[in-house]
């Protein structure tokens, strides 16, 4: 069915639609031949008949969707409704339709403001757009990953905060008064003043919190702390696992969809532009984004296969193998170094404790206490410096290699960094769980002195037997559980207090290097290496650092329920620091490349080595 306009009009009004309730309008052409005019008039009649046969609502909907100009449409409408004319009295309609108008407009405004609110709630949306416009999708994927981690930690913080921290803060346990030693190192080591706070596992009560009833006890408000602790951590991990797997499958699906659709370029050209944008800066941002994305697509499409000779191939492969060999060798060497160093530090600590317990306990000079606290920092400093320097070394090694595509180079760098981090974490876990946990129970004196020193083990002096007997209803199933777990709890708290201190000042010490890392690369390259060009943002190293930090956070959340808060603060600061340093110091990658599967890859890395490892360690700890 076609309709034609008068010849002089530039607005073609030809459309064709099938006889259906929801016509599909497809294709049109300008009909300028007068010979067809008669036929078109017939078709117009047919159209009007069609319109008449529909219900009023359908007719209106169809009229709105016809791509004709208004005058024609109102003509059609008039002709179609001629047969079914009913002239309502002019006084009835206006008030009803006014009311209806108000409602429609109010609903529509409400919907728009809700949509704009929701889209503005997306954290850091503008910052991400700026970064992606200037630096491409590779760097964008790092920041998107940071945002994802931020949300994970906020969720963890909410769960632990709500179920563990708040009840405990409301009912603080009775502790022995101690004079905290201030050396200023507390912020880094997390010991001293902090060990008596909500920060640590030992502060949390091993009994059920009771609300003291003043007059008549109608119902007891009791909160079973150990059970709550156990279940909260378990449930938080379980939900994190589900969310991780879900987001992994989602991004997998997305990346496959993107790959399979041909015509990505055309779609980008025609449908990327958001016509609703009216601010000048947003328009500029959008243009920058589109041009960067188009450049990346062009680079992908344009990549030529360089055919090189056999000898060239062999040479390239051998250089790459050599580079891999160097990297693996250096990783193994670092892991061994950290292992032996930790063993040495551990022995040193034990010897020191022995000498202290043998001599009088009260005669501890402030100097030796300071030394002791500082020595706790030695191992994390070593590991942090390894993490800082080795990726730079890997980059140097990668200079001599030649990869044909930037994405391949990035993946190789990621794998090397991953190996390094996994080996570091493995050594550390072995040190904590294997050495520290195993050796301490054999020495009760040592334990007591440790307890006396760390003071966070407020659980021990409480006569738990008596307390449990008071709680009616719990006696049946909880008492046997508690009693059997008691001895283990005592020893465990000693071990855990050692663990938690190390984990935490580990994480604290992670803050300072990552914050200071930001401005150093440019100064380094410009002053030392005397290069004129700005450095390129190293995605591999930064992403692996994020994953590493997150693994530590997951490992430590059992011992330190407030650790997600630390992590959240750290990620927040990191986002802004990195963005600022990126804008000021770095340049865009020389060859634009499309990072279509980067996000999937990062989340997979987060899930499999990182989260799984942390979950396994935590389960092992909770079980033993």
């Amino acid at each position: 069915m076609q309709l034609c306009r008068r010849r002089q009009s530039h607005r073609p009004s030809i459309h064709s639609f099938s006889r259906s309730a929801r016509p599909s309008i497809c294709g049109y052409r300008v009909e300028s031949d007068a010979a067809h005019f008669e036929a078109e008039e017939n078709k117009k009649e047919q159209l009007i008949n069609n319109l008449q046969n529909l219900s009023v609502g359908e007719r209106v909907r169809m009229l709105k969707a016809i791509p004709l100009n208004l005058a024609e449409k109102s003509e059609l409408r008039r002709l179609a409704s001629n047969k079914t004319i009913h002239s309502p009295s002019p006084h009835e309609i206006p008030c009803c339709s006014h009311f209806k108008d108000y409602i429609i407009i109010a609903l529509r405004n409400g919907r728009y403001s809700w949509l704009s609110f929701v889209s503005s709630m997306q954290l850091w949306q503008t910052a991400l757009k700026t970064v992606s416009g200037r630096f491409g999708t590779g760097v964008l994927s790092y920041f998107v990953f940071l945002r994802t981690l931020f949300f994970f930690n906020v969720f963890l913080l909410l769960v632990t905060g709500l179920f563990l921290v708040v009840p405990q803060a409301v009912r603080p346990p009775v502790l022995k008064k101690t004079a905290p030693v201030h050396f200023g190192l507390e912020l880094l080591t997390g010991a001293g003043y902090f060990s008596d706070s909500l920060l640590y596992y030992g502060y949390y009560s091993n009994y059920t919190l009771q609300k003291p009833c003043s007059n008549s006890c109608g119902s007891h408000l009791s909160y079973n702390m150990p059970l709550a602790y156990f279940f909260t951590i378990g449930v938080a991990f379980f939900i994190t696992c589900i969310i991780l797997v879900y987001s992994m499958s989602q991004s997998f699906g997305q990346s496959f969809r993107v790959d399979r659709s041909k015509g990505l370029l055309t779609i980008k050209v025609f449908s990327c532009w958001d016509f609703k944008v009216i601010k000048k800066s947003s328009v500029k941002l959008q243009c920058e984004n589109i041009s960067t994305q188009l450049k990346e697509l062009v680079a992908e499409v344009n990549r030529k296969e360089v055919k090189s000779s056999w000898l060239q191939c062999l040479f390239t492969v051998s250089v790459q193998l050599l580079a891999w060999f160097i990297c693996i060798g250096s990783t193994v060497a670092c892991a061994l170094a950290v292992y032996y160093f930790s063993e040495y530090m551990h022995k040193d600590l034990i010897d020191h404790k022995h000498s202290c317990s043998n001599s009088s306990q009260t005669a501890e000079s402030s100097g030796s206490v300071l030394l002791k606290e500082a020595s706790l920092l030695a191992l994390p400093t070593v590991v942090s410096s390894v993490n800082l320097l080795m990726p730079g070394f890997f980059n140097t090694v990668a200079w001599m290699e030649e990869y044909d595509s930037p994405s391949k180079r990035n993946y190789v760098a990621i794998f090397r960094n991953l190996m390094l981090k996994v080996s570091m974490l493995g050594v550390l876990c072995f040190h904590w769980l294997g050495r520290v946990a195993v050796q301490h129970p054999k020495c009760m004196d040592l334990q007591r002195s440790l307890l006396g020193e760390f003071r966070g083990a407020g659980v021990i002096p409480i006569p738990v037997d008596g307390l449990h007997l008071h709680h009616a209803g719990y006696l049946n199933w909880r008492a046997p559980l508690e009693v059997s777990h008691l001895p283990r709890r005592i020893t465990q708290s000693a071990q855990h207090s050692e663990h938690r201190t190390k984990t935490d000042f580990y994480c604290f010490s992670k803050l300072t290097p990552s914050l200071s890392l930001a401005p150093t690369p440019r100064l380094f390259t410009q002053k030392v290496l005397k290069k004129k060009r700005k450095p390129v943002f190293d995605i591999a190293r930064n992403v692996l650092e994020l994953i590493y930090g997150q693994t530590l956070a997951w490992l430590g959340v059992l011992f330190t329920p407030l650790l997600p808060a630390v992590q959240v603060t750290k990620l927040l600061l990191l986002f802004y620091v990195k963005k600022m340093s990126l804008m000021m110091n770095c340049q865009a990658p020389r060859k634009p490349w499309l990072a279509s599967q980067m996000t999937t890859f990062f989340i997979t890395l987060l899930c499999f080595p990182s989260f799984l490892g942390a979950a396994v360690c935590v389960t092992y700890t909770m079980w033993t």
């Binding site: 459309h15 300008v30 370029l265 697509l297």
Partner: protein, 181 residues
């Protein structure tokens, strides 16, 4: 409020309401905006359907269109004479199609017209080049522009005439999840 307005007859308002995606109040507000653009040209009384057109230069200064790189093409596509002079009917039509309520098919038709710079009902390579330059504010090099245009036509052209007809365009757009949204 405003039960007795004298700008349009009830019949006219009903017709507007049925043929566009706007309610009566919004039509009246649009008339106010139209009047603001050229107060000396646009009469307040539209009951006798005056034939008043506002030139392109005045319309593209509206804040909704000012920063849009395609503003000239948009206004031209909705004008009767193809030069961008809009009557009130065309004005209402333009905003109706660009509004959120318009269906995707309708937007596709007009989008095709907007991107068709030489108005020959096909998007040829020159049209695509102009589109690209407007989209990216000339940030791409000429070689890149050339490559993108060639690749785009290669991807979308189904009938092999090295230009995109409306069917090709619509076929391509149907795959995009958020076209003109």
């Amino acid at each position: 409020m405003g039960n007795k307005q004298t700008i349009f007859t009830d019949e006219q308002l009903d017709a507007y309401q049925d043929c566009t995606f706007f309610t009566r109040k919004e039509i009246l507000r649009l008339h106010g905006r139209f009047h603001e653009l050229a107060p000396h040209l646009v009469p307040m009384d539209y009951t006798d359907d005056p034939d008043v057109k506002i030139p392109l230069t005045l319309i593209v200064n509206m804040p909704e269109l000012k920063e849009n790189p395609f503003r000239n093409r948009i206004v031209e596509s909705f004008s009767e004479d193809g030069l961008g002079n809009l009557s009130f009917n065309d004005f209402v039509d333009m905003f109706s199609v660009l509004s959120e309520m318009a269906p995707r098919e309708l937007k596709a038709i007009y989008a095709f017209k907007i991107y068709d710079f030489n108005v020959d009902n096909y998007i040829c390579k020159e049209d695509l080049e102009k589109t690209l330059n407007k989209l990216t504010k000339e940030e791409l090099t000429p070689e890149e522009v050339n490559l993108v245009c060639e690749k785009a036509i290669e991807e979308a052209d189904l009938d092999g005439d090295s230009k995109l007809s409306f069917a090709d365009f619509e076929n391509m757009i149907s795959r995009a999840p958020d076209f003109l949204s």
